[in-house]
Amino acid sequence: MKKTIGMTLAAIFAAAVTLLPAPGTSLSAAGRDYISIVGSSTVYPFSTVVAEQFGKTTKYKTPKIESTGSGGGLKLFCGGVGVVHPDITNSSRRIKPSEVELCTKNGVKEITEIKIGYDGIVIANSKKAQRIKVSRKDVFLALAKDIPSGVGESLIPNPHKTWKDVNPSLPNIKIEVLGPPPTSGTRDAFAELAMEGGCTTFGWIKDLEKKDGKKYKAICHGIREDGAYIEAGENDVLIVRKLEANPNALGVFGFSFLDQNADRVQGSIVDDVEPTFENIADGKYPVSRPLYFYVKKAHVGMIPGIKEYIGEFTSDKACGENGYLIDKGLIPMPAQEREKFRKDGKDLKDLSL
């Protein structure tokens, strides 16, 4: 018995030792030979496809991509220059001046900004239910924490229980919206585009923007916390499943999930525009946002393949009108804009805010 156990142990350690490379080789491996990418979970499905194509069609290794969220990605990206820091970060919003400052402080002085296309945020419900037709004002009145009372410039806590309360032309069903939590870029964009869009239909709130920006933001971006808006986590697949189970609920998520699940859910019509590919590309659909990635110029030349990766991402083959990213749900930019960012990528143009 002793022998058997002894031999098993010896075998385990022999295996372990042979698999651990000699220390010398390991440290040289720390000089990374693949691109490291972090950032937005919205851009992740697109950048992974590009990375895969890039890895298969070029002599470079496939880049590694982590989905950390836009804010988390920029924090890592601005951590400094060197192989331990990522080379590229994806973002579903533009970089903020405070983040540029952080970057500069840590020695990341030159950044190139590339816009890759647009993403629509849809409000959808199950195909078993009727398609909903709302305006951004309805969305604001249904989901805001406080709404104008109608008397002067005062606010009351949102009293609306059903969509009919919001607007008599809407169906008499309980307001129940599943959406992303505050940490998500999708939520930021939803608040900014849908909620704020509805919020500014009230003249006095619009005037507030210049007078008291903080209060304006609190009114327009504040989402109610009494159970009508349900934070469903970052997993959009989950929201789609929940909508299927509950035909009365609405969900908020990215267009690519609507595109992939078109047989289960339907996008609500917002301000008389249906969230279709064409309407988002034309800019008719009001709730859409641009997607970006940022490149650390100091790493170009240090890590192999960065320029070629940018080239692949900005090529017509990827983000052009018939590109493979379009099949994955990306909304392309107009040809002129594409050309501009392709050139920016080629010249590694410095970011100017």
């Binding site: 018995m1 002793k2 058997t4 156990i5 385990i12 350690f13 295996a15 372990a16 030792v17 698999l19 651990l20 490379p21 390991s26 491996a29 720390a30 990374r32 693949y34 490291s36 992740y44 499905p45 992974t48 496809v49 990375a51 895969e52 890895g55 298969k56 290794k61 496939t62 590694k64 991509i65 982590e66 989905s67 192989v83 331990v84 970052e234 997993n235 959009d236 697949v237 690519s256 999930f257 595109d259 992939q260 699940n261 078109a262 047989d263 018939n322 493979y324 099949d327 994955k328 749900g329």
Partner: protein
């Protein structure tokens, strides 16, 4: 009822008899509630298995489409250079498109053509490239090749998505006609999905596989085992056999027990701060994953090892010391071999826990999209549970069944490890 009444033997017998029925009933209730508890647990497990297997078993098959590919010299190597560089750059998707157009010559509309080309996986071009790179003599010949079908076609064949009117679904009427034509000519069939086991991750479900994650898990586990087993056993032996009982060893003991209950994400944060930021080890590497999981499994191994050392009767030690062995000899020659089976069981169970862990790996960057199969412990890698997490989050419908299939593979690994622990214990365990 007072004592006086119970005085006679008869009375007491009467009382016992009258209560007997109730006592039996109580015992039955107790037993039945035990059985109900077990049944509940088993049915939960059954529901879990049925739902996972039910949604995952289809992933082990994949729809393939047969095409007659003409390896056209003009397309692949027009200048007849025969250089690998030129061969790898050629437009292989054109070959697939030509083959499809030949099969359905009456498709002429641009949009329809696009739909037609998309019924075969976009990985087909890479497959052809690999064929030519492996054997350039194929240029100029015509070969029958089976390609994986696009994930939407695959989902349609498996009945996971239906055709919807007016092109609102993922599959259009025209595509269905092509699929029917292909099925009739026996050019479309389901086969075992080997890619799922041999491929790396991909964003195209039909060419995505778990091999990269399996290899990553393997490297991570090797690092964990190589570090945590010797460290854990040494700690346990010292604490149990040599350490004096004083306040310091008490503090160590309390801390070890405490660490066993710390949420695993905390170890991830620790790993980020210490291994990545301080020691500068590479992000997303199995070496760091292994180190972090070592921290997590160490307490489990130490506690199990101490328990099995404690189970060795003192007479063994005293016997050894009595015939003149030193303390070290008595431990190494007698106590440790007897305690090892228990230690191994604890180690395997600890490793099984580590194998299913994702939370600490999130912090050190192992939750990432990685296509290449890792080649060592310093290479970028991901692990099986992370693969499940990433696929569960993907919009493509075909990833749903692949997620469940991966869960099945992970469960199989866990089952094997736990069975191994039971077998080892049964085989080597000694009772005194």
């Amino acid at each position: 009822m007072n004592r006086a009444e119970l005085n006679s033997h008869e009375d007491r017998l009467q009382l016992i008899k009258s209560k007997l029925k109730w006592r039996y009933a109580k015992e039955n209730i107790f037993r039945v509630s035990g059985i109900i508890a077990i049944l509940l647990a088993v049915s939960m497990l059954a529901i879990l298995f049925i739902s996972i297997i039910g949604s995952g078993y289809t992933a082990f098959q994949q729809t393939f489409i047969r095409l007659d590919i003409k390896f056209d010299q003009d397309v692949i190597d027009p200048d007849n250079k025969k250089e690998p560089e030129a061969l790898s750059q050629a437009d292989y998707s054109a070959l697939v498109k030509t083959a499809l157009s030949k099969m359905f010559p009456d498709v002429s509309d641009r949009r329809e053509r696009r739909d037609l080309y998309s019924i075969v996986s976009s990985g087909a071009a890479f497959e052809l490239r690999d064929m030519i790179m492996g054997n350039p003599a194929l240029i100029g010949t015509t070969q029958q090749v089976w390609f994986p079908a696009d994930d939407d076609v695959d989902m349609y064949i498996k009945g996971h998505i239906q055709v919807e009117a007016e092109g609102s679904g993922r599959i259009k009427e025209s595509t269905v006609q092509w699929i029917n034509a292909l099925t009739e000519s026996k050019s479309l069939k389901k086969r075992f999905n080997t890619t799922l086991f041999t491929g790396g991750d991909s964003r195209e479900p039909e060419i995505a596989g778990i091999w990269g994650a399996v290899v990553g898990s393997f490297y991570t586990m090797i690092v964990t085992l190589a570090l945590s087993f010797p460290l854990g056993v040494a700690t346990a032996v010292y604490l149990e056999e040599f350490a004096p009982k004083n306040i310091w060893t008490d503090i160590v003991e309390v801390n070890i027990n405490n660490l066993a209950a710390v949420p695993s994400i905390v170890f991830g944060l620790l790993g980020l701060a210490v291994f990545l930021n301080f020691f500068g080890l590479p992000r997303s590497a199995p070496i760091v994953g292994g180190l972090v999981l070592t921290l997590m499994t160490l307490p489990t191994i130490i506690i199990a090892s101490r328990a099995s050392l404690l189970a060795v009767p003192p007479s063994i030690r005293e016997g050894a010391l009595g015939v003149g062995a030193s303390r070290m000899q008595s431990v190494l020659h007698h106590v440790l071999p007897l305690a090892l089976p228990g230690m191994l069981t604890g180690t395997i169970i600890g490793m099984a826990r580590a194998l299913g862990e994702t939370a600490p790996l999130l912090m050190i960057g192992m939750v990432a999209f990685i296509v290449d199969i890792p080649t060592g412990v310093f290479d970028k890698a991901t692990v099986l549970p992370v693969q499940i997490y990433l696929w569960a989050d993907s919009p493509e419908r075909a990833f749903v069944e692949r997620t469940s299939a991966t869960i099945m593979v992970l469960l199989a690994f866990l089952l094997i490890m736990n069975a191994l622990a039971v077998i080892l214990r049964k085989k080597f365990e000694r009772r005194w």
